[in-house]
Structure formats: C-alpha cells, structure tokens
Subunit: 273 residues, 3 copies
C-alpha cells in the first residue's frame, strides 16, 4: 500500500545525506522536508563519512560534479555500504560528457546501489556503457511510449536484474522495475519539464521512501514516483492566472507537503507488469 | 528600541559578505535585500580579503564547508578583524562531523567573533568542545523549554562571557545573550522548521543588524531574532489553501520586506532576563 | 522585430551552458526554461569542453568564481570559440576585487566574446582596466541618467567597437550597443533591484536570444533586455497584498514563461540611437 509507504516516511523522519548539484539543491532540501524526511548536504571528502554515518540514506546526484565531489561520492558511498544504508544514484547528464558517463559507471562498479533513477537517455547510456545525450534532458527519440512499452519494460527489468537494484526511468511514462516486476506509472504533467530539478527532487524523495520502507523497497520507490507526479497534477490545478514555471515549482513542493496517504492512493495511476 | 534597529539597517544599507552554504544561499541573499541590507558572496581564498574589505560585516556559515572555503573563512575573518568589521559565525552541523566541530572551534580561536548563532545542539558542541548531533537540526532532547529555562539562560550568559561575544541559541524559545543580559524570545512558528535555511537567513539578518547598530549590539541581535520569528508568524497568516513549506519560505521573506519598526515593536514577544 | 526574436527562441530551444554563481543559479535555470531555452550547468575543468560542445551558447558569470571555475571558463570558452558558439560574459563584481577584475579582463583577452552584460560600474572597470565598486551592485554615482545619456551612448558604442562585441549596460536605463547603434531601453521597475540575480537571469536570457537569432544579434540582445524589464513590470502588477521580493522573483520568471511576441512588441519601451 502506497499509503503505508508515505506514513512510514512521516513516522520515521529519515535523515538523507545528499551529494547533489548546486542548481536544484534548495528544492531538494525543501522536498525532503515536505515529504517528512530531513536533509543534510555535504560534499567535502573529509566530511562525508561522518555525515553519512548519522544518516539513513545517501542520495548521489552528479549534476554539477567536480573532482572533489566525485571523491566524496566514493567515500560516502563506501561508508554507506559498510553501514548498510540505502544508496541511490541519479546519473544526471550521463552521456553528455565523458566524465559524467565514466563517473556514473564507476559509482555503479564501486558501490552497492539500491536504486538508480534517471531519464531514459541517461539510463541507456549506463546500459550501453557509453552514449550521447542532448544535455540533462532526455532525447525525444529515446522516450518510453505506449508503442514501445513492452520492449521498454523488458529493458528495465533486464537492466535491474543485471545491476541488482531498483531502476526508475522517468518521463511521460515512468517505469519502476526490479528483475521481476515493473510499475508503469502515468502520473505527472508535461509542464513539469519546464521546471529545473523535478528529477533531482524525485531522487531525494525516493531515497527517503526507500530508507523508511526497508521491507517493501520496490513499492516504496513506485510510491515516490507516483507522489511526485501526483503533486505535479495537484500543483498544476492550483496555478492562478499568470503563474508559470517558477510558482509551479513551489506549488508542487507544497502539494507534497500536504499529501496524505489517502490522496496518494486515490490519485496514483499505475499498473503492475 | 527594536524599531530604531531596523530603521538603521534601512538607512545605512549594510553590505554583508557571506561565506555560506550553497543550499540556502539564494534565500540568504534575498532576506538581506528584504531587510534593507545588501549581499555579496565569495568563498575563493584569493578573492575574500578584497571582498570583505568593501563590506561592513562578515557572515560565516559552515553548512557546506570544504577545504577551500575553510581557508577563505580564516582569511576573510582575519581581514575583517583587522578592519574591525562585524563577524558572525553560524556553526551549521557542529557536532555532526569531526571536520565541522573542529572548523567551528578553530574559527572561534583564530577570530574575534561578534556573535555566534546556532541551534542548541550546535552551541552545546562548541561549549563542550565536542559533541554528537543528529544532523543540521537540533536534537529534541537538548531543547530550551519552559522547564529548563533558568538553567539555559545561565548557560547562555556563561558561554557568552567565556567567548566574549553575543550568543544566539534559536529554537522554539530563542535566547540572545551577552555576559549580563539575556533576551528570551517567543516569536516564530513550529512550521518554520519545515523550511530549509531559516537559521541561515537569520544569521545573515543578524549580521546586517549588528553592522547597522554598533552602539546597541545585543538589542540589535535580539531585534533580528524577533523580526525573523515575527515574519514567520505573519507569513504563516498569509498562507492560502494548499500552500506548504515552499511558498511559506517566500512569504516569510516577503514579510521581512514589508516589516516596519512599528510592526516589529508591536509583534515582538520577549522578556529581558 | 522583437516578436520574431522570441519566437526563434521558442522554436529552436537553444541549449545554454552556464558557468555561473551558486547564488542565483536556480533562477538562471528556470528563466532559461521559461523563455523556451534549456539550461545545463558545469564548472569542472575536465567536464566543460564536452558539455559546451553539445550546447549552442556559453554564458560565463564570475559571481562566485574560484580557481577551478576560472580554469573551466577558459577551457569552455576556447572550445565554444572553436565551435563558433555564442559566448557571453557577465563580469559580476568586476572592480570589487583584484581577482574579479583580472579574471574578467583575461576572459576578454583570451576569448572571442559575442556580448558582455553588466552594470555600469562593472563595465567602467573593464573599460578602464581597473576600478572600485561597492559590491555587486552599481555605484549610484556611475548611473546612466537622462542627463548623461548622450555621453553614455558614446561610451557604450566606443567600448563595443573597441571590444568588437555587443555591450549591454543595464540599470534604470539600459543601453545595448554595438559600434554603430545603441538601443536605449526604459523597461523595468526599481523594485527589481531588491531581488538577487535579475542581472544573472538577464545574461542567461540574452545568451539564449543570441543563439537563436544569429542573423540579428543586436536586436536579439535588445529584445532580451526589454523582455526582462517588461516581465518585471508585469510581475509587479501581479503582486498581491503583502507579497515582497521573494514572491516577486517568481512572478517575473512566470511573466517570462507566459510572454508572447505580441506582448513583448507592445510593452517594449526603447529608442534606437
């Protein structure tokens, strides 16, 4: 039950260590607070082992990586693994540069990840071991559509099996898969793509859900994806005349702040395949 | 008079150099503009001495410290001391990692600080010289309450005396103390804890108030704390149906933007002990 | 036609690489999305050549420069030059520190810039090769006014000629000049100065306009300046009772999100000199 997943977050206030980009970091912190979690940010190699030790989970986002933060990601990730904390990777821009692709692949090799969340172009890059994307947004030609859905579900399950973690591919249609099961999710609004960082926010949210729901990780990951998309729908409905992407950003976080289990259950649009 | 403190900020437009974390930096800049001050950010060791020289005060916040910014804090702090500028320390996460605790203690030793502002867990860490906190938020077990208020006032005055600066411990009840006098402040809303960076904003605001009111520093620091809390109350009252922590963040800064001396005087809830 | 300039941005979705400060970076990303462009941020020397290669333009902003990002600016700039991409420089705080002044001058020497956008104090610093400013905001004594307008237009054209690029000096009156022609623009609101980063946002917007309008660069730069100022007017008109600078920031980006060519044409206030 998704309602249960969100209640666990609110009951346990998971503290999440975020090594994330400086573009969307403020929204990441506020979305964690909105969902009932608690954020802490640190990307200094000397600081991260201590910080991650007091947390429940680690959210690694390579959006504005640098040599120092890459080192910090590895140190924090290994410490989190040692402590059996949840670790999630958001491979922002994998495929857009050699450094990003290589860093994402290194993190996958060196760390035990619980989940990877990215857009389809990033995930294809990881699956192929190389790639070209047109920036930090997915290439339209790659999109998950109703037409290629069966093939994409197979791709997701296979990649989840190969990497032994939960894979979330988000876009107009979202897929959240492990080796056996794939949630196909149809929440969200296209206008969310006009806000920077909804993906980064979702990765943080998903980390909190995974930490708070150790016994039902796949369902928790899917609940986080539905919650973000549903918040996009609710926030869109609250937009007043003349409000655009800047205000919409706030209305989405506000919707997460107010969302209860019942609203999530009733608004979630998904099938299990 | 608090009204006078705010008028001095608006009249003199203090320029504040902030070496601060990248999570809440935008809100820090906007709150400084809202109160009538002016912000500048720089954390490059080669840049900070020049930058701090043209400012009136320096706000040091260790929220996302790194090796470079720690160096910059020391260089800027020493230059600010040399020029007799106001220097404030916000020891974000002191107690949460060895590096943060050590850095905060080093800054206290190496610099002449005018004020320290933190939550009770951070301040206890500084007082003890070591500590464990559960992140960047105060540990509930440490809180200043009506029950332990007398003891906490003594603690605050003693630590202020020992360190020879103004000490602000903020939480549900705020204490602003020097060696002789302690303001006990009861403004604010619990929902402010669901927004990232209200503490960081307050530290910047307090720096501006200290710079603009050299003849009445303790009162100015207390005025800044009341103003932030009162803005939290006013902003909360402006929330519309469905608005949550993201919009609330803006409404607080908006309330600071519009707050005049009369509103502050009438809304401030404090006793002097 | 300004309407045409904006339509080209919306039609071509220019991808802009931003090496920019961490204070206003989120607003920079959202304003690029609002206008119809697409943002990507990277300031790691090893990452920037790849990232800029997949973009259409490069927006360099020295607001929180450091040794690493300065190196990244030069690497990215040279790669962008090699690929004949648009490169814009926003010399934030030139004149406020030796490092900022020197960095801005070095970037001007080492790179072929298409445009420079700054406030009058920053631009005067670049023209003189040195300077003192009172922070990141223009010194009032330097302002472009109706009284000194003729002289300032000459200054702008001369400096544009000398540097062989488009020069935008923004303030209460904005000047956008090349060697022959100067747009004098009177859009905007004084309250925009109470928001951090409207200048940074404009630089990003201008980069997108230049990329999307290669055949009419001066007009495109002027259109971006008018659009930002007009959005400030429209956003101001949407402010509700009690809303201040934090909400105003969002309303400006929202106004850009909704602005169409007709609104821009009708609202633009400029003369060509």
């Amino acid at each position: 039950m998704f309602a249960n997943c969100i209640q666990e977050v609110r009951k346990t206030t998971p503290l999440i260590h975020n090594i994330t980009n400086y573009v969307t970091v403020n929204d990441v912190a506020n979305v964690l607070l909105a969902c009932g979690g608690s954020p802490i940010m640190s990307d200094e190699p000397e600081d991260v082992a201590d910080i991650t030790s007091i947390c429940g989970g680690l959210n690694i986002n390579i959006g504005t990586l640098n040599q120092q933060s890459i080192q910090a990601m590895l140190i924090a990730g290994k410490k989190a693994n040692e402590l059996e904390h949840v670790v999630l990777l958001d491979p922002v821009g994998a495929g857009a540069s050699a450094l990003r692709t290589r860093t994402a692949l290194t993190l996958m090799q060196e760390l035990k990840l619980d989940a990877i969340r990215g857009n389809i172009s990033e995930i294809k890059t990881l699956a192929l071991g190389s790639g070209t994307t047109k920036g930090v947004d997915a290439d339209g030609a790659d999109a998950v559509t109703e037409e290629n859905l069966d093939a994409m579900i197979s791709f997701a399950k296979n990649f989840a099996q190969k990497t032994n973690n939960i894979l979330a591919i988000t876009g107009a249609i979202d897929l959240v898969a492990d080796a056996q099961t794939c949630y196909v999710i149809r929440n969200g609004r296209p206008e969310m793509g006009k806000i920077t960082g909804t993906g980064c926010q979702l990765s943080a949210l998903m980390t909190a859900f995974l930490v708070a729901n150790p016994g039902q990780k796949l369902e928790a990951a899917a609940a986080a994806v539905c919650m973000m998309g549903l918040a996009g729908e609710i926030g869109y409905g609250k937009l007043q005349d003349g409000e655009g992407n800047a205000t919409y950003r706030n209305r989405i976080i506000d919707a997460i702040y107010h969302m209860d289990g019942k609203t999530l259950e009733e608004g979630a649009k998904y099938e299990v395949r």
